[in-house]
Symmetry: C2
Subunit: 199 residues, 2 copies
């Protein structure tokens, strides 16, 4: 066994658990963190610790939040009759960055996925139903990925929300089939938002 310091090996192991980071990249990153300027690595370490201590999940929409309620849910200027359902908080920021939407959000926490072993019960669908019953919004917009997993999740949501009688819309074409929301550009997203259609 090569005499790598134990703490270094543990760092490589933990880095390699990140999505899209293989063992070789994890190794390279760990070397960079420990061989490069230590103040930069310390800044990352501090940022990570600070985030884990201070970034929570909004009790209403389940987005990332600094308090119990996120700044969007707490913002009185948002259109409170609109709830946009997204897979994760990352998708929420993509939509926010496009500037095409001024309503509220609901973060599902993923999509139904046989690959990841995620079923409807692993998503915040019951929370969404209760929220729709409580808040009685004008419209719920499904802004899910336009791929197989997004379609299955859409079907689940349509069934689950049918009893509430709420108007359901989805993002319009403009997103190519098979593309994922997180890689969409703002123009495409704006057009998809404008052309949202009833399901």
């Amino acid at each position: 066994m090569p005499p790598r310091p134990k703490a270094f090996s543990r760092l490589v192991t933990e880095l390699a658990r990140l999505p899209g980071i293989g063992p070789k990249t994890a190794n390279r990153l760990a070397f960079h963190l420990l061989s490069g300027p230590r103040n930069r690595s310390q800044a990352l370490s501090d940022a990570l610790r600070d985030s884990l201590e201070n970034v929570k999940t909004c009790v209403v929409c389940h987005a990332l939040s600094e308090g119990t309620e996120c700044s969007i849910c707490a913002d009185a200027d948002r259109e409170r009759g609109l709830i946009c359902v997204v897979e994760d908080a990352g998708d929420l920021y993509v939509i926010e960055d496009s500037g095409a939407y001024r309503g509220l959000y609901h973060v599902l926490g993923g999509a139904v996925s046989t690959v990841e072993g995620k079923g409807p019960d692993d998503l915040k669908i019951q929370e969404l139903i209760r929220r729709v019953e409580r808040e009685n919004p004008v419209e719920v917009i499904l802004a899910l990925s336009h791929d197989a997993e997004g379609e299955v999740t859409t079907t689940c949501l349509v069934r689950a929300l049918a009893p509430t009688g709420v108007t359901l819309r989805r993002l319009a074409s403009g997103l190519a089939y098979g593309s994922r929301l997180e890689f969409a550009d703002s123009v495409t997203l704006s057009r998809a938002m404008e052309g949202r259609r009833e399901i």
Copy 2:
């Protein structure tokens, strides 16, 4: 401005400073760290903090080390007459993993690079000269990259070490194991031809 929690934005900024990690990937990683299971993210945070506290640089060879001297330098069973010069600690582990070498190492801390603005004075060359004078090894092996930067660095080292009179060798140039002749570039082929050996 999208209402991202401040600690989250700081985490994205710090992640994006890592080599090969762009802003989109940094964003995705930060979401994963804060939206996924917190105990995994906490484990990474702990591993990083622990590494920064406990992984040092060996005073002799400049490899990563748990103490002032690394486990290779402290190992009495290594061949102490051989010093293998590598660009970084990552290259050291590649050689260790191959099991092909049982001598000591010297980590330069990179290669001479106009792109990265790294000159000979940014590398541990003076430390190597002093070490060769002090330890008087049988042989110094240059295990640098076989590319333009590695060649320039090799030239610098050959000049710098000439006054010590130590025997300098470099890794053989040639065809990689498993490579096919038809895909070999002409420089590699020329070198393999020059360095041909009796069977």
